[in-house]
């Protein structure tokens, strides 16, 4: 696939369809892949990579790239296309200036999961029939492919590309996913248990803003948490309240807009399951206001910008689940 992608990108560069290509650039190791913009065939040949570690969702970069002169080619995985649609809907990208090639999705690998098995000194990772052969400084290690899959891929919602100009490989379907299982599990806990769970998770937050800055829904020109005028700006989680506040408001601001791409949890250096907050909103929206998938289209009205006269009352929160 990587080879075909490079060839196609070179063609499109050569025939002038696009001026730049956004994709992934290889790193020092097997796994440290960086989203990058390529402008020449040489760069593509040398650095372009598409493999089990190209998990990064590059759609957010299109906010900037699509405003530059000349069309940009973006290779998007199914989940990334939802993000692009949402950005298009919110007028954050110039869709006309983007040439989207849909490429197959994951499952992509999580290097942290491999390291979590105590495997260190990793020099190379090979997938042989869904067994990972990991070459390390301390000899070869193996582990099953599926044990190293990123959480966001393990609960994949869709293999379908919702927007593209061209497709490489086959398009897939929207999947029956288990993505709300953990949310449900938490809902069934007592209030105290949930509180303890989230305290132990959110207290790890170092307020590095990686979750926000990677999020394709967080493209504000100036985030309220960076804007001293907002009254909530802060650089540090100076108190447990700040940790709660930041994550509640962030989740609320992307509620109905989050496509559940899972990047927030993927990049969290402290492994906080931030996607659960977003999924809680998604689950509630689905249950209370009808199934809604942000990014599935570019026209539908976001659930928080919408209403019906017979919506449920807020007291429904008191009436369901465990206290």
């Amino acid at each position: 696939m990587q080879k075909a992608m490079i060839e196609r990108a070179k063609q499109l560069l050569a025939d002038g369809t696009v001026k730049r290509v956004i994709g992934w650039k290889r790193g020092e190791f097997a796994y440290d892949i960086t989203p990058a913009v390529f402008e020449t065939a040489e760069e593509l040949d040398r650095d372009f990579v598409f493999d089990d570690f190209t998990a990064a969702n590059v759609s957010k970069y299109l906010v900037k790239e699509s405003r530059k002169e000349g069309r940009v080619l973006a290779f998007l995985k199914p989940c990334d296309t939802y993000s692009l649609n949402q950005l298009t809907k919110e007028h954050r990208v110039d869709r006309g200036n983007i040439y989207v090639i849909g490429v197959p999705g994951g499952p992509k690998l999580d290097i942290e999961k491999i390291k979590g098995k105590g495997i260190t000194g990793i020099l190379g990772v090979k997938n042989e029939n869904y067994t990972l052969k990991i070459d390390t400084l301390y000899g070869e290690e193996t582990m099953p492919f599926y044990e190293a899959v990123l959480d966001k891929c393990a609960s994949c919602k869709s293999k379908k590309h919702v927007t593209y100009d061209e497709l490489m490989g086959d398009d897939g379907d929207i999947l029956e996913s288990n993505r709300f299982d953990m949310v449900e599990k938490l809902e069934n806990m007592t209030s105290q248990e949930r509180y303890d769970f989230w305290r132990s998770e959110l207290s790890k937050c170092i307020r590095c803003n990686a979750c926000r800055n990677v999020c394709p829904a967080c493209t504000c020109e100036n985030c309220v948490f960076d804007n001293p005028k907002s009254g909530v700006s802060n650089k540090a989680a100076a108190d447990s309240f700040e940790e709660n506040m930041f994550h509640i408001i962030r989740a609320f601001h992307v509620a109905g807009r989050c496509t559940d791409c899972g990047e927030c949890s993927r990049v969290c250096p402290q492994h906080i399951p931030l996607h659960l907050l977003n999924r809680k909103f998604i689950k509630d929206i689905n249950a209370l206001y009808g199934e809604y998938q942000a990014g599935a289209d570019t026209e539908s009205r976001a659930p928080l910008n919408n209403y019906t006269a017979d919506d449920c009352e807020a007291s429904i929160v008191h009436e369901r689940g465990v206290e």
């Binding site: 405003r67 007028h91 954050r92």
Partner: protein, 663 residues
């Protein structure tokens, strides 16, 4: 540095009996920025106001906090006082220590403590108040009335009477609407045409009224006082300015088999037609669906017979643009289609008719020249069954959930007229309830029952079956007698529910007005603002707002006119300065705010910004029209970046209040 004055009112003993006002004044005097803190017997009295005015001047105050009764009571009083003393009126805040403190609490210590906290919150807020100036926006002194039925005509006449220009846009070739089709009106039984047509003529002759017949509203931009409307003048293939309405073309037209919509399709008209004799404007219109000349270029008779050369087969739709200060919606109603009511055999049997069809059948200008004959065989009907609530008060998806309101009365009218003119005809009325509130309405209905011996039967008609002998079997239940009935009828008349015209919904979108689930326009307040829409400058007249009879429609039409005149009288509108505004530097242009704005006050513009690296970037940003915004604040929460804020209730002001209360 702020210099804030605090004024604590005793309100006689209303406040002072439960709140230690001296302590409140003393304590608030220590708040940062407070330079003077006083208490007084009656702050709203003239001497109380003078106290405030003098303090503003003497201490050069930058903000005023009045601890008194509810701002709903005296906010304006104190704003005016501040303005008189040279302080921007929006630098005044009220702490409600009467209704929300002294009147509900008994313990002096806790009530005083609460009064101090409320005062402190007001002080914290006033620190952040900005002087606001109410903007002004000019008013175009011309009104648009959409719909030329009795509602639209009455509204236009009233507005014209006040000396303002008014345009009527009517989608049909003539004004007159439904009332023109009606024979007699209840409860007076006077002739509809006799009272309507003079008004139509009056409208056409009024120098202030322009009638755009056979026209539709295509686009509405702008806002209260300054709407820009694009009107589509549909091609009628006849030059209105030349046509004299002589009618020769309609006599000569060879295409005579066009269903006549004015007579509910009960007879035919020609391809070139004038809807009815008293049409206004009395101008012919060619129906392109039937005209041979327009369809295949073969004919041209009308053109040949027209002595003034008014026929123009090449006419195209035209668009005109006009500016208006106010818009009145008078789009009216239609009876619902009865296709789904197979049980009443409406589609199967020509002698099952709707009430509006019956109006035409009985009308002297109708297909039978006023003699009531069965449509099928043109014989005189001896037994007529009326079925009430067909599609009204329905809980299924076939009909409408509401009561259509006019059916009970017009059915009584029909029954009475028939019994009067044809005493040998038996009339049965099947009803759920008979609803006759209104002046002389119940008396009218009782006359039908008592004097004219109309058979009113409480019950439902289950099935209407046309029989081979031309009769109609009506199977019904009599709920009071608790028995099943079969009536061998000659005609069945269905009181079909009424619904808003289908053009109403797209129009509502253009006007950014609200509709209910039944597509009736929603009034700004169901009790207190029944003829205004929630969108400023848009008024509602007649049945577009809900089912109405003629007197109610006319009353509402005049009311809407009065509202429109009230607006047109002004040279400019003072805008509420407590409106939203967007910080363009922070705005993402994401459109969330626009989606939640009930007034369509937000638009987007592409704006060029200088970037930090000295390049420029064009970005889409929200722009609020302060003349349209009503200041609800929905957009401020929809905006994730916090670019949208509300004057007078800004994020920082509300948070300062929260902080002060939680101190």
């Amino acid at each position: 540095m702020q210099r804030i004055g605090v004024f604590v009112c005793h309100c006689g003993t209303n406040i002072a009996a439960t709140v230690d006002v001296k302590t409140v004044a003393e304590t608030l005097g220590h708040e940062p920025g407070v330079v003077i803190s006083q208490d007084y017997q009656y702050m709203c009295s003239e001497s109380g106001q003078n106290l405030v005015k003098n303090a503003i001047k003497e201490h050069n105050l930058t903000g005023v906090v009045i601890c008194s009764c509810s701002p709903r009571m005296h906010e304006n009083t104190f704003r005016k006082a501040a303005a008189a003393a040279g302080l921007n009126p929006y630098l005044v805040e009220i702490a409600n220590i009467r209704e929300q403190c002294s009147w509900i609490h008994k313990d002096i210590a806790t009530a005083t403590e609460k009064a101090i906290i409320l005062g402190r919150a007001a002080v914290a807020k006033v620190h952040l108040n900005a002087p606001l100036t109410a903007g002004e926006s000019p008013v175009v002194k011309r009104a648009l009335v959409i719909g030329g039925g009795i509602a639209g005509i009455q509204t236009a006449l009233d507005i014209a009477e006040a000396g303002f220009d008014v345009d009527i846009v009517e989608k049909n070739p003539t004004i007159g609407g439904k009332m023109a089709q009606i024979d007699k009106t209840f409860p007076t039984l006077d002739c509809a045409a006799c009272i309507l047509t003079p008004k139509m003529v009056e409208a056409s002759q009024n120098e202030h009224i322009t009638i755009h017949s056979f026209s539709e509203v295509a686009e509405v931009k702008g806002f209260v006082g300054n709407f820009q409307v694009k009107i589509k003048k549909k091609a009628r293939f006849v030059d209105e300015t030349k046509c004299t309405g002589c009618g020769l073309c309609t006599e000569k037209c060879p295409m005579k088999k066009v269903p006549n919509e004015f007579n509910m399709g009960l007879d035919n008209r020609t391809a070139i037609y004038i809807p009815f004799a008293q049409a206004v404007p009395k101008v012919a219109t060619i129906d392109p669906n039937y005209c041979m000349m327009l369809k295949n270029g073969k004919c041209g008779v009308c053109s040949k017979v027209c002595s003034v050369g008014a026929i123009d087969y090449k006419q195209q739709d035209r668009f005109i643009e006009e500016k208006y200060g106010a818009i009145v919606v008078a789009t009216g109603f239609n009876p619902i289609k009865l296709d789904k009511y197979d049980e009443f055999a409406y589609n199967q049997c020509p002698d099952v008719v709707t009430s509006l069809e019956l109006e035409r059948l009985m009308n002297a200008a109708g297909p039978n020249g006023g003699t009531l004959l069965r449509p099928s065989d043109k014989t005189h009907p001896h037994t007529i069954v009326f079925v009430q609530c067909v599609g009204s008060r329905c809980d299924d998806s076939k009909g409408k959930p509401y009561c259509s309101k006019i059916c009970c009365m017009y059915t009584a009218k029909h029954a009475m007229l028939i019994r009067e003119k044809y005493p040998d005809t038996e009339v049965y009325v099947f009803y759920i309830d008979v609803r006759t509130p209104g002046k002389n309405f119940d008396e009218f209905y009782r006359r039908a029952v008592e004097q004219y011996n109309v058979h009113y039967i409480k019950g439902m008609v289950g099935k209407v079956t046309p029989k081979s002998d031309g009769k109609i079997d009506v199977q019904a239940s009599d709920l009071l007698a608790n028995e099943q009935l079969h009536i061998n009828a000659d005609m069945v008349v269905l009181a079909a529910a009424i619904e808003p015209d289908k053009t109403a919904r797209p129009l509502a979108t253009m006007l950014t007005t609200q509709m209910d689930t039944n597509d009736f326009f929603t009034e700004a307040h169901p009790k207190l603002r029944p003829v205004e829409s929630a969108t400023a400058g848009i008024f509602l007249s007649g049945a577009c707002q809900g089912p109405k009879d003629i007197p109610e429609t006319v009353a509402q039409a005049s009311a809407a006119a009065a509202k429109a005149i009230g607006l047109l009288c002004k040279n400019s509108i003072t805008c509420n300065p407590c409106v939203a505004h967007s910080d363009e530097l922070m705005c993402n242009g994401c459109s969330s705010c626009e989606k939640v704005c009930p007034y369509g006050a937000i638009t987007y513009i592409d704006k060029e910004f200088r970037m930090p690296d000295r390049t420029t970037k064009v970005r889409r940003v929200a722009s609020v029209n302060p003349a349209v915004c009503q200041g609800c604040g929905a957009c401020t929460v929809a905006c994730p970046s916090g670019a949208m804020d509300l004057n007078g209730f800004s994020n920082s002001q509300i948070m300062a209040e929260v902080d002060a209360i939680c101190k």
